[in-house]
């Protein structure tokens, strides 16, 4: 399945330690992502969840080496299948991207080229990385369109993106990402632009493919419902940091960080929140991240804030569950 020899005895596909992303702005250095660490293994789904501007998309672009020119990345470790991506040449990263690691974006209409057929776009990535002639590439494209549940795949190859509905386009994007059998798939809000019934279908497809193919899936979303249903582990991001990380069961059953708890209380749940009842809210707004940042970035919005929140806050952990808060446990 893989052209790259297994460099590691364990199944870790992606390992990140202390990844930071800065953006140069006229007002100074915007510290958009700060010291983010996580790992994801073969056959595992990690969800990164957070609200707009929390740095979840920049984190994924930093992994893929696709950051915009104004952004710069630093990390202690960034390795894919044991290979150091920090030291890798741009050429090497290009060879890995689309082959060993692939990405699915939110808006399939902007991510697909309207001037080329589905077949062109699907085979391009395969020919680039694997060569072997157009016939073999087409065969692979038909195979994958079938895998993502598209009927009459051979005819689909002749179609242009505008001839497909949003849900079908996203299936094409998924097929394209899987053409070379990547070990790591990063999906950035893959279902957000879609209708609710289509969203459920796409997520189910992703979950099934992830299991069948044993890929490591990093799914980025703002939707806690999606996270709960698809994640093995969750990383909650706030203002550029991971504030809590753990298994989906633990994080939803017993959130340790006040932000996670606030976020969960904000969503209406049919059958649980009363019609017409009040939803939980998080007071205040996200802080500006330009310049020096000290202490817990959530403290100004936090109902449990104390004086020591202004100083450096250490990460606490119980087993795999980690969170960054002065409180061992939140008051009920």
């Amino acid at each position: 399945m893989s052209a790259v020899p297994k460099a590691r005895p364990d199944d870790t596909v992606l390992e990140i330690e202390d990844l930071s992303v800065d953006i140069a702005t006229p007002r100074g250095r915007l510290r958009a992502v700060r010291e983010v660490s996580f790992h994801v293994s073969r056959g595992e789904t990690l969800c990164i969840v957070g609200e707009s501007g929390c740095g979840k998309t920049l984190t994924s672009l930093a992994v893929m080496g696709l950051l915009p020119a104004v952004a710069s990345r630093r990390a202690r470790k960034l390795s894919l299948l044991g290979e150091d991506l920090l030291e890798a040449s741009p050429r090497r990263v290009n060879a890995l991207r689309g082959d060993r690691m692939a990405m699915i974006f939110q808006e399939p209409m902007t991510a697909l080229n309207p001037a080329y057929t589905i077949g062109n776009q699907l085979t391009e990535v395969y020919l680039l990385h694997r060569g072997g002639g157009i016939a073999r590439a087409r065969e692979r494209a038909v195979e994958l369109l079938g895998k993502v549940g598209m009927a009459s795949a051979a005819e689909r190859l002749q179609q242009y993106p505008h001839q497909l509905s949003g849900g079908l386009r996203q299936r094409v994007m998924i097929a394209m990402a899987l053409m070379c059998g990547p070990e790591l798939l990063i999906a950035d809000e893959p279902s957000t632009a879609l209708d609710v019934t289509i969203q459920a279908q796409i997520l189910r497809l992703l979950a099934d493919l992830q299991k069948d193919l044993g890929i490591a899936l990093v799914l980025i979303t703002h939707d806690l419902g999606v996270v709960a249903r698809i994640a093995d582990r969750v990383a909650v991001m706030y203002a550029g940091e991971i504030v809590e990380e753990g298994t989906a069961e633990r994080v939803f059953a017993a959130p340790r960080h006040p932000y996670t708890r606030g976020l969960i209380s904000c969503i209406p749940i049919p059958g649980r929140t009363a019609t017409g009842g009040r939803l939980g809210t998080i007071a205040g707004v996200v802080p500006h991240l330009v310049g020096e940042i000290r202490g817990c970035t959530f403290r100004e919005r936090c109902p449990y804030a104390r004086a020591e929140c202004a100083a450096e806050v250490a990460v606490r952990s119980i087993g795999e569950h980690r969170w960054r808060c002065v409180h061992e446990e939140l008051p009920a």
Binding site: E51, L168, T197, Q201, R204, H222, A231, C266, P270, T275
Partner: protein, 329 residues
């Protein structure tokens, strides 16, 4: 029995809106039936949720309820008066909109206070000072400190902008507010604030809402009755409790099944729908939902099911033949 117990505040009677796509002087164009024979009645103080996926006609319906678009056929009645006979201004005094995108619905060059005061200005109400005072009052009511009055929209967050849009809708003291996906562009924590605000305002100002959304969890939270639309038609209509407890139309059932509640371990549901959302320009014959429907029968592809009313609700599906009629096809 119908849904109407007392006189409705706002009513749609057999409303249809057809657009002719690609029409010009020489060509008639292809008809798109965006809204197709919709009957609705909203009582004073009610919150009517309209749910459906993109292209189902919910926004076209909203524009007709606002009097911004005339129905091709059928009538919209505002407390018994045909909207077609009322002037734009008379309608605007009583029915106001809140739209989805608070970035494009606010003029970026005007101050917040003047944006909120604009409806008063248009209707020639009060002096400039009075209008400003009223606008600042309304900002206060929607939870924006008065000092924001002199800011411009660019200085505000998405949630704050949506508060401004709500203040602008309410400054005329309308009776009905049509909210078209008012929280879809917002983060979840901000969405919760806006939903709480809308509910508080409804109680305080005795408002009637039409709340359009694709998010069923949000609709369940805020609406007292729900209409489900599919390809221009209402396929099910019931009070919120009934609809969520016993959804009857297969499409409603699929919509409910696709709500992903934050409960780990349940996995992503298989909603059992076919892949293809039909082409609205060339809708399927019979029941427009039949190509995706897991329960389709032979008659579904030829006979359009009528919306049949029963206690507490109405459904348009051949699985539920009108009472007194034989089930045999």
């Amino acid at each position: 029995m119908t849904l109407r117990d007392d006189a409705p505040m706002l009513e749609a009677r057999a409303v249809t809106r057809t657009f002719l796509l690609g029409a010009n002087f020489f060509r008639r164009g292809r008809p798109l039936h965006a809204v197709n024979g919709v009957d609705l009645a909203i009582r004073r103080g009610d919150v009517l949720g309209i749910v459906g996926e993109s292209g189902c006609g919910k926004s076209t319906l909203a524009r007709m309820l606002l009097g911004l678009l005339a129905p091709t056929s059928g009538r919209i009645m505002l407390e018994g008066e045909d909207l077609g006979t009322l002037t734009r201004r008379a309608i605007a005094r009583r029915v106001q909109p809140v739209f989805q995108d608070p970035y494009s619905s606010l003029n970026p060059r005007r101050s917040i206070a003047s944006i909120v005061a604009l409806p008063l200005e248009v209707h020639g109400i009060g002096t400039a000072t009075e209008r400003r005072a009223q606008a600042l009052d309304m900002l206060d009511r929607v939870g924006l400190p008065k000092r924001y009055g002199d800011h411009t929209p660019g200085q505000l967050s998405g949630g704050q902008r949506q508060r401004v849009a709500i203040a602008r809708a309410l400054v005329m003291r309308p009776e009905i507010v049509i909210c078209d996906e008012p929280t879809s562009a917002l983060d979840v924590s901000v969405q919760a604030q806006i939903l709480n605000l809308l509910m508080d305002l409804r109680r305080e100002l005795n408002l009637t809402y039409v709340f359009i959304s694709h998010n069923l969890a949000v609709v369940q939270h805020i609406a007292s009755q729900v209409a489900v639309m599919y390809l221009g038609r209402i396929v099910e209509h019931a009070d919120t409790v009934t609809l969520f407890r016993t959804p009857r139309h297969p499409y409603t059932q699929a919509l409910l099944a696709s709500v992903l509640t934050p409960e780990p371990g349940l996995g992503v549901p298989d909603i059992g729908l076919g892949l293809a959302f039909p082409d609205p320009l060339n809708p399927p014959r019979g029941c427009t939902f039949h190509p995706r429907c897991p329960h389709r029968m032979s008659r579904c592809s030829s006979v359009v099911p009528m919306l049949t009313h029963e206690q507490g609700g109405a459904v348009a599906c051949h699985l539920y033949p009108p009472s007194g009629q034989a089930q045999a096809a």
